[in-house]
Symmetry: C2
Amino acid sequence: MLEKIDLNVTIDKAAYRSAKEALSNKLGVLQRKVFELKIPVLIIFEGWDAAGKGTLINELLMPLDPRNVRVHNLKNETYEEFNRPFLWRYWSKSPEKGQITIFNRSYYSDLEYRQSLDGVDLQGLMNHVNEFERTMRNDGMIIFKFFVHISQEEQKKRFEKLQKKDATAWRVTPRDKDENKHYKKLLEKVNQELELSDKNGANWTIIEGHQKDYATIKVLNTLATRLEKEIKDFENAPKIALKPLIHDNDAQYDTEVLDHVSLDQTMTGPEYAKALNDCQKKLYLLENEIYLRRIPLVIAFEGWDAAGKGGAIKRLSSNLDPRGYTVYPTGSPNDIEKKHHYLWRFWRDVPKNGHISIWDRSWYGRVMVEPIEGLCMLEEYSQSFQEINEFEKQLSDWGAIVIKFWLHIDEKEQLKRFTERQNNPEKQWKITEEDWRNREKWGTYKIAVNTMLLKTSTSNAPWIIVEAQNKEYARIKVLKEVIAAIETKLGKSKK
Amino acid sequence: MLEKIDLNVTIDKAAYRSAKEALSNKLGVLQRKVFELKIPVLIIFEGWDAAGKGTLINELLMPLDPRNVRVHNLKNETYEEFNRPFLWRYWSKSPEKGQITIFNRSYYSDLEYRQSLDGVDLQGLMNHVNEFERTMRNDGMIIFKFFVHISQEEQKKRFEKLQKKDATAWRVTPRDKDENKHYKKLLEKVNQELELSDKNGANWTIIEGHQKDYATIKVLNTLATRLEKEIKDFENAPKIALKPLIHDNDAQYDTEVLDHVSLDQTMTGPEYAKALNDCQKKLYLLENEIYLRRIPLVIAFEGWDAAGKGGAIKRLSSNLDPRGYTVYPTGSPNDIEKKHHYLWRFWRDVPKNGHISIWDRSWYGRVMVEPIEGLCMLEEYSQSFQEINEFEKQLSDWGAIVIKFWLHIDEKEQLKRFTERQNNPEKQWKITEEDWRNREKWGTYKIAVNTMLLKTSTSNAPWIIVEAQNKEYARIKVLKEVIAAIETKLGKSKK
């Protein structure tokens, strides 16, 4: 994409001044519009060292209301970031609805480095990047990607200028000099990356960086023109009222997974006590081993209300070292979480290398409670399966073990447990009006769950159905499945 | 505090089981109470390596509802934490109102290390710690501090046991062995730290750690007993309705700072253009220099509505490298921020070493809008001055330059600017009903501001009053004052 660029374009001072004033006023207005309409905007600046990204970002900030702009400088990863999937820091820093977020450098600058680190090839990482941008766009985000371009000679000249002054000489690092020396080879790589990621709705705009004034106007103009168009499209789009998407009498998928689960398992007290003790001891040692080998473990618990998720999680974690694991209970999203993509809060809690994250309910709420209660649109619901599969694939590619449990009981057993809770003063708080209301929708939930189990059971992250009619049996099955998954990953499996 | 501890205490199995069951049930109930009453609870675990802190934390987690508990393991600082004041990570991880937060190790473990890093002596750091705990307690937090104690021989035995198995041998580090070797010397230091920080409302409880069962019951019992008492006190405390605390006709402080500010400065166009250019160039070089020397810079802007804070901040930042500074506009706190101490969100944005944080409005809202609008209690308002001074002192002690600007105009000038905004379609959005309402309270604000300027002008963070009737003059004064403060810190001042 860079070959055809003429770097000698300029603008004269008078034209610059009048264009800048007009565009600045326009951007101020557009920013307020974006805020009112709750549209998230992401602006990525990539480009050569010393191409002037910082200056352009400052020029862009001046007309904007700082209350709704964030700038993130993303050169080197921190230790926390380095020990997470490479998209982790971009998820966490992605703009709130209504906010403009500027990335000074981005995942595009990380690709080379992460390739060596994660053992995933460029195309694989690029897939993750394209998935990220598509996921964000589907959520309504407007994405701008600027590549600020200068020639090898221009870069050299700028480095020399910086080196002349004591206060700025440190800015030119050996790596920068290296970049200048191998400019031509790098140019090819950059070209390839730009091509692989120039997708519809997330296209690259090349900024000719030799003359600052020209570059500034091109950035401001690109933003103003497209924001104006996107806002108009947004305002003209038909408003779709949210409504429940799944109903009790909907046609079911052919395969009704849950109908083929038998629930007649039993386990005696002494049998349970021994198995529990054995499994917990084993898991403690495995926790140490995955910590040592830097393998992250992601476990999601789903299941019917009162199926015993909490009890199973307690038995799973009670002999672990609390430095190694965290339990994340998932309720309704809070105000901040609502301003982001529904996966945002789960990305936030992705474990560090060697650590364990356990979710009591998870991102699967998106394909159960949300469509049933009418909290998302049909299009969003349909996209979610792919987005969720990509999320879990990205975790697996990074090296994580991903385990998902569906704790299954039947309707009668649930009623028994609800009634028990209701009649026990110490357990009454566990049962709410909402639980009873959800129970009435058992049939609807069954359709949603069957669909979910089919569509999101993948080779890298299959669903494990836990027969939970007998609590002891269920708890031991959970422990054994976690142990088996770790052993397989460690190459210890007897299979 | 440790000399008198008898480590040979035990509990038999039957007593342990019944006590544990009773205490677990009680803690479940108390936790729900704490959540309903929105009381934040902090539980700190300190103690020798291998004393069993992890196990005790797990035992404590079992009876609790995971939705309202967080565990933070705080052994080594991350890069982000290491480059901030040492209390930064504890502020950011402090419990929300209604939540129980457990620190596995805490600032007490950091003291030795931070002493060498920050060049502040033990007593100085201990003051910061005690200030932190007092500030939290004043905000309603219940604080528990457990020190889990074992003997030198017991520790040695436990290390040997860990070393026997491959999966756990790595847990015993050279540093651990060193701790065991120099146990007696360390014991003295620990004793000293415990004594210096055993304050009313944040007392230490020593946990005899030799027998796990005994230790568990002591932890659970300490929590249950005190939580029960604190909850009762909380419920019996008289409810005080919030109301405005400052009124137009209140008696003023003797020194009415603002009455002695003259506002007749002028500046011509060419004079301004030259000064602006000179100052911005100079500041750019100084930004580089403080980055190199790892000096953080904290700037707070306060002033009357329409006094020109935004314009001054733009001139201050427009020639800086955006990688080095961030502007934080302060509005009403969001849902998450409301669940924390009012300083929490400002602590969150404390800059990294070598970076600049600029606030457009700041923590001083606590002593202006809050008492005037009746958003805090009289006691809270009065405590705030000390808390704010301590906050800024902690930043200075850490090495930061702290600058606070009050942009001053008179009532007539404000009316002129408000009217201008109202009549200019492009600026109308800048003026709201609330601005007009606040203007009516000019006299009340003046009392609050005078009080604030007097009480929070400290030698390490004095207020700088900027005469802002002439915008150009004000902008240059801001730039010059920032330059002067940096030069003084760098030892370049001509004074």
